[in-house]
């Protein structure tokens, strides 16, 4: 196996997704097809040689060749995210290596199985790659996204998700607002809990394969609840973005 090399990518586009989230498009000198759910490692180097490395999920589907999209949430005291958010412009170079990860991935062989995606905040990113790829291959498996966000300003990819939900009767978009829902909101509110997950699961006629991604406490809570209500633990895949609190 060849070493996963560090590559010098170039930022070719920047999209402001929400007040605290931006998508950077990187053109890679050598693009390798990825599986939805995989990530790249990104490395920043300071002038004095100090380096910081973080992982970022790939938002784009493998059908988008030559480039990858990374969607980055701004964390105020975040060493890497705040630089990517405020310090990077179009044309800037960024060192990355990937694609990485062989477990939190959605493969075409799963395209007939019912699918439950649960995201908290920027945890939507790898799940978005799955949804985009699923739409591209025209999969018709029953699919539900349960997306926990703080306020109506924080729904990353909202327009695209709404469009996907309108075009595909097998895909349901469920958003829960933990702080401030839109004024005319009739859907879920508050943190994801047992009753909410049971209700979501009742939409499936057979147990789904589940992917849960986001801040560690949300992932813990959701994955454990899904196991408690009877989903086989091996059918629940998780990715934790951090942090932990304690």
């Amino acid at each position: 196996m060849n070493k996963i090399q560090w590559l010098m990518a170039e930022v070719t586009a920047i999209v402001q997704e929400t007040p605290r989230v931006k998508t950077l498009t990187l053109r890679l000198p050598e693009w390798i097809p990825h599986l939805p759910g995989q990530h790249y490692d990104l490395r920043l180097t300071a002038e004095d040689g100090y380096q910081a490395e973080r992982s970022y999920s790939i938002a784009s589907p493998p059908e988008k060749t030559g480039e990858i999209d990374l969607t980055i949430e701004f964390i105020a005291d975040g060493e890497v995210s705040s630089y990517l958010f405020d310090g990077i412009g179009i044309g800037d170079p960024l060192e990355v290596r990937g694609p990485i990860g062989g477990y939190f991935v959605w493969k075409d062989t799963m395209a007939n199985d019912p699918l439950l995606l649960v995201a908290g905040g920027s945890g939507i990113v790898p799940l978005m790659a799955m949804l985009r790829h699923r739409a591209n291959i025209k999969a018709t498996n029953p699919t539900v996204l349960l997306f926990s966000v703080r306020t109506d300003e924080d729904v990353i990819y909202w327009n695209e998700l709404k469009t996907l939900a309108c075009q595909d009767s097998q895909f349901s978009l469920l958003i829960t607002f933990t702080r401030r829902p839109p004024s005319d909101w009739t859907g879920y509110q508050g943190r994801i809990d047992g009753p909410m997950l049971s209700e979501v699961l009742s939409r499936f006629s057979s147990p789904p394969l589940s992917y849960v991604c986001g801040p560690t406490p949300l992932v813990e809570q959701v994955a454990n609840t899904l196991a408690d209500v009877g989903l086989p633990p091996t059918s629940i895949r998780t990715e934790r973005f951090g942090p932990t609190g304690t």
Partner: protein, 204 residues
Amino acid sequence: MASFFNKGFGRKRDSDTSGRIPPGQYETHDFPVLTAGPTPRIPLTNWTFSLEGLVDTPVQWTWEEFNALPHQSFTNDIHCVTKWTKLDTHWEGVSIETLLEHANVKPEATHVMAYSYGDYTTNIPLEDLRHGKAFVGLRFEGQPLTPEHGGPARLVVPHLYFWKSAKWIKGLRFMDADKAGFWERGGYSMYGDPWKEQRYRSDD
């Protein structure tokens, strides 16, 4: 000066401990959680710990028997492949060397498969578990180890990336060859030395 650098990027937090942070890692004061799936719940009445495979007589301890073994305190730095390093963590547990006094490991044994509740496995050279280099941790920072962090008992091999420190440990199987465990089959390094940055299989 670095030949390539990101304009305007600099260290956010000063650190006088940089010599203890392996390449590509950063120091955290949290204790993040990394697991492939949900956290298993293990009632202590059913808990057992076994030594099996290439041993003269397999051994199995109950929770009570295991806790009656001599305990030691350990202070270690731990390094997770997801890039965080936590310095000076305090543990209490049973050294693997202590466990090995109870089972005669056959001379042909070279590697160990650590296996866990929840079917997680990870492979480690036997030598890396010996001579006090590794232990089964039962208490962390003075408290019983919580399930999120691998409780009731987790293997701790501080000098390798932390996924080698199998959570919810159930036993050690001694083998005469190296075999890939759970993350290793998924493309992670067979050995996982943080100082050589052996994160992925291709770094070996």
